[in-house]
Each structure stands twice: as structure tokens, then as C-alpha cells.
């Protein structure tokens, strides 16, 4: 499938994130409130003028059916609004809104992703994401699956444990400049490598933290973006792909779906300066870099990435917000944001952004 050029140019003109926390006292709605307000403020779009709203969240994270219904309260859904919701990372909400902006007679959209991981236990919840007949009963948790993937990469000679530690140390060092980050600091790679395994070959530093958080992004059509924004981040390409669910049917050392999405989004059409990748585990960074054809000259996750804060359902959209920030505030001209879903990078979304 060849890359499909969008019917209309759409830009990111506002974004905001909540500070990632291990356990927020505020409810999801309560911490979404300031995030949505801040993104709207940055975009200079009055709330009542929004043409569309789309959210991403997950009932199982918070352990409540219809949890997303409460999140409507943070949006100001009165009078009624044109609105939709995906049970996916907010990055897919951005995709739905981006598509709608291209064919409907609207100018702006609010998208957000939010998740509160702190109330539940990931090792208990995530097995429910696997095939309910053959895999859930085995109690497969994401860390074990990631460890299997890391082992495959080590065996294939595609990564070393030292490189993994270096990625973790770099991410947390870069995150010191990110006010939203949860795990930051200077770490010595040799000291990291001296730590015991959690699930071999993974050590604590290879794992993301458990985070509560939210991300909001404001989109606008070209005309509107020019009116209100000095330097919009243009969405030049946006695509997402899924691949087979059964881990045994996949080569875990590559990310076929990221590669397909990257090609369709036109990542390789011109040089990329910065990539914000949802490399939830340290060893996934080289897999994603290879799938997107990114060289060593590309800055990866200057925000610190998911290793510095992993608010599930908001973290992919946060990567797109960070990639947009590199254009709007960082003076870069071409960046990539990436989101993922499922275990071992089963589903991936790639967003190419450009400055004027």
C-alpha cells in the first residue's frame, strides 16, 4: 500500500502534559482538567469553538466499566459536543481526529489520552490483553514478554546488555530537563550492569516506571493554524499498522508494523532530526530505529521517553506532543512521534511532523 497524501494539511497548534507520577492523589478527571485547559490556552482556540473531540483511555487500567465517560467532565461537554473515544492510546484518537478534519467542515479538534495505572497491578491486568483462550490462562505479563523479546535480540546480536543500559542512562539523563518526567538522574552504566536481573535479561533500568498521567493536543486545519499559531507543527504523514497477535507467529527482533507505518507516513522521504519513540523497554529502541530507518545522527527521546515516564494510554500521544514541541519550541524542521500498543510492539503508529 502506497503512502496516501492527506486531503488537507493539518497542524498541531497546542499541547500539554500532566507531570508523570507513580500515584496521583487526583482522579483521572481531576488531573486531566489542567492539561486540557493548558493545551487550549496554548492554541488560543476557545473551548466552545472546537469542532471535534476525541479521547483515548482504558477501562481495565482504572478497573471501572465506562471509566472514559467520566473523562467527558474534563472536556466541558455542555452544551453537547461532537465527540468520540478509542479504547487505545491517545495517539489513535489523534489519528481519528486528523482523518475527520480532512473531510468534515470543521477547523479544530481536541485530542487527549489519559491513564491512571497506579490503582491496579500491571502483572495481573495485562495478561487479559492476550488471547483469552490460549495465552491469558498462562498469565503472561508484559515484563516477561519483553524479556523474551530482549533475549531474542541478544541472541541475534542486535543489541547488548551494555547498550541497553546506555539507552536507559541516556534517557534518564535527558529527562532531567523534562518537567513532566518521573524517573530522572545521572546513572553510571557499569553500576547499572552490576544490578541483579528482574526478568533476565532485563534489569530494573530496562523497565519503564508505572505512571499516572495525561496528554492533550490541539489540531487545526491550515487556514486556522496560520491565523492563531506562529510556528505550527504540520502533520506530513500519519499511519498505523497492527501485526499478528500470537507471539510465535512473529519475529520479535524486528517491527514489521512500524516499518510499514513508517513507509506509509513517509519517514524516509527526507532527513529526520528528532524521534520520540514509544520504546517502553530499553531494547525496543534499536528495533524501532531500524524499522524507521533512523541513523545515529537522529536524536532519540530527548524528553527521556517512556523509560522516564510511562502513563499508559497517554504516553504515545505524549511522544507526538514532544515531537511537535521540537518543532514549535526547539526550532527543528522534521521530527517523528511514535506510539505502540499490545505486547512486544504488536501495533504501531508513526507521525511525521514538519515546521515551515
Amino acid at each position: 500500500m502506497a503512502a496516501v497524501k492527506p486531503l488537507k494539511d493539518i497542524a498541531i497548534i497546542g499541547y500539554a502534559q500532566a507531570r508523570n507520577e507513580r500515584q496521583a492523589q487526583a482522579t483521572e478527571v481531576q488531573f486531566l482538567f489542567p492539561v486540557i485547559n493548558e493545551a487550549l490556552e496554548m492554541s488560543k482556540i476557545p473551548r466552545r469553538e472546537l469542532g471535534f473531540t476525541c479521547a483515548g483511555s482504558c477501562d481495565y487500567l482504572s478497573g471501572q466499566t465506562f471509566a472514559f465517560v467520566m473523562n467527558l467532565e474534563a472536556v466541558g461537554a455542555w452544551p453537547p459536543i461532537s465527540e468520540s473515544h478509542v479504547e487505545m492510546d491517545g495517539a489513535w484518537a489523534l489519528y481519528e481526529a486528523w482523518v475527520r478534519l480532512q473531510h468534515e467542515d470543521i477547523e479544530t479538534a481536541l485530542v487527549f489520552g489519559s491513564g491512571k495505572s497506579s490503582p491496579g497491578k500491571p502483572a495481573e491486568i495485562y495478561p487479559l490483553q492476550m488471547d483469552p483462550y490460549t495465552l491469558t490462562p498462562l498469565g503472561i505479563d508484559p515484563v516477561s514478554m519483553a524479556a523474551i523479546q530482549a533475549r531474542a535480540l541478544l541472541d541475534a546480536g542486535k543489541v547488548t546488555e551494555r547498550q541497553m543500559a546506555e539507552i536507559a542512562a541516556r534517557s534518564r539523563r535527558d529527562a532531567m530537563k523534562n518537567p513532566h518526567a518521573q524517573v530522572t538522574g545521572e546513572f553510571d552504566v557499569d553500576e547499572l550492569l552490576a544490578q541483579p536481573y528482574v526478568n533476565a535479561p532485563l534489569r530494573t533500568h530496562d523497565l519503564p516506571p508505572i505512571s499516572d498521567g495525561a496528554t492533550a493536543v490541539i489540531l487545526a486545519t491550515a487556514e486556522k493554524a496560520r491565523q492563531v499559531c506562529e510556528r505550527p507543527a504540520w502533520i506530513r504523514g500519519l499511519d498505523h499498522r497492527i501485526e499478528a497477535h500470537q507471539p510465535g507467529m512473529r519475529d520479535l527482533t524486528v517491527s514489521t508494523s512500524t516499518k510499514l507505518a513508517g513507509q506509509a507516513a513517509g519517514v524516509g522521504d527526507a532527513p529526520i532530526e528528532v524521534a520520540e519513540l514509544s520504546a517502553t523497554f530499553s531494547h525496543q529502541e534499536p528495533v524501532l530505529k531500524e524499522a524507521l530507518g533512523l541513523g545515529d545522527d537522529v536524536a532519540i527521546n530527548p524528553s527521556g521517553g517512556p523509560l522516564a515516564g510511562n502513563p499508559v494510554m497517554a504516553v504515545g500521544l505524549a511522544r507526538i506532543a514532544e515531537a511537535a514541541k521540537q518543532i514549535v519550541e526547539g526550532g527543528h524542521t522534521r521530527t517523528v512521534g511514535h506510539a505502540t500498543s499490545g505486547m512486544c510492539l504488536q501495533q504501531n503508529l508513526v507521525c511525521v511532523l514538519e515546521g515551515d
Binding site: 482538567f33 485547559n37 455542555w78 491496579g120 487479559l128
Partner: protein, 186 residues
């Protein structure tokens, strides 16, 4: 859950097996609900009132979803614990796992006396079901001090106040005319 369709005949083939999945979640109680709980222990109902639209939120939310502004203890008001039934239904309980109700029960919406506030899904105590009606005047029945608890009251319990406010019972006052609350029913 009780399965009434699977045969218990040992000669019949097994076509369905039930298993219970248990996930434990522990949520921190948010600041406004914490204050609400403290007030309940004290035998009081508190709410937050939006300074813009003047709507009253009980339990307090920490924000007004209409005006999308954040609210805090400065927006707190004390509510009356008497009011008027504005709407109700009679529920015949479905016997799912964890259901303790066995007989039909009433759930009523109660518009509290000024400064107002709406409590939904409340029990009407000591009253035959067919006497419950919109307009009926009621008063809160509190658990005795010392026997009160707010164990079940958290961010997600909404207007369920079990353990502290047990329900409402009729006061015997004349009914409130429907016109006076018709725009506040929900």
C-alpha cells in the same frame, strides 16, 4: 454468578465452565471526597458550588464540568439533610455475583432543601413501595454516631452513602408541588 442453564447431570457433556477472575485495585481517595467523608462521619452533607453557574455538586468533584473550572474547599457549602423526592424507580434485583438484594427496592432522586443539591439513587426507608411518589417530603436517616463508617465511600462510589447516611424517610409534611422542581429532575 449462578448459572441456571448448564446442566448438572453428570451424564451430560460439559459445554461451559465458569471461572472467576479477581483483580484488586486500590485507589487513593481524592481531596474533595476525603473532606466529604469527614463531613459524613460528622453527620453532615457537604458539596461544592460553582461560583459561575451556581450549580451544586454532591459529592464534591473538585471541578465544575459545565464551566470547566477547578473548585476547592473555598467553594464548599453545607447542605440540608431534608428534601423532596423528585423521581424514583422500583428495582427488581438481578442475581449477579455479589448482589445482596433479593426483594424489589426503591431508588429515589432527592432534591435537598436550599441551598439545594441533588442526591440520586437513595433508599426510602420504612415506607411501602407504593407510597413513594414525586413530591414526597423526606428527611435523612443517619447511622448512629459511633456506628457510622465511610469505608465504602471513595472516588467511584458516587451518591452511595452506605454506612453513614442510611437513606431517607417521609416527614409527613404536605407534598411539594411538581411545578417547583420540574426543571431540576434528572
Amino acid at each position: 454468578m449462578t448459572d441456571t442453564t448448564t446442566s448438572t447431570d453428570p451424564n451430560e457433556p460439559v459445554t461451559m465452565m465458569e471461572y472467576f477472575m479477581s483483580l484488586a485495585y486500590s485507589d487513593i481517595v481524592s481531596a474533595p471526597v476525603m473532606r466529604f467523608r469527614d463531613a459524613l462521619m460528622d453527620g453532615r452533607l457537604i458539596a461544592q458550588q460553582c461560583p459561575k453557574c451556581k450549580l451544586v455538586y454532591v459529592p464534591p468533584k473538585g471541578y465544575c464540568p459545565i464551566d470547566t473550572i477547578e473548585l476547592d474547599e473555598r467553594n464548599e457549602i453545607q447542605l440540608a439533610d431534608a428534601g423532596t423526592v423528585t423521581n424514583y424507580t422500583v428495582v427488581t434485583p438481578v442475581q449477579y455475583y455479589g448482589q445482596k438484594e433479593t426483594e424489589p427496592f426503591v431508588r429515589a432522586s432527592i432534591l435537598l432543601d436550599p441551598p439545594g443539591g441533588m442526591l440520586i439513587l437513595q433508599d426510602i426507608l420504612d415506607t411501602p413501595i407504593d407510597e413513594v411518589r414525586p413530591g414526597m417530603r423526606v428527611k435523612a436517616v443517619w447511622a448512629k454516631k459511633g456506628k457510622r463508617n465511610v469505608d465504602e465511600i471513595g472516588n467511584r462510589s458516587g451518591s452511595a452513602l452506605e454506612g453513614s447516611l442510611l437513606g431517607f424517610k417521609p416527614t409527613g409534611e404536605p407534598d411539594t408541588p411538581a411545578e417547583s422542581f420540574s426543571d431540576k429532575v434528572w
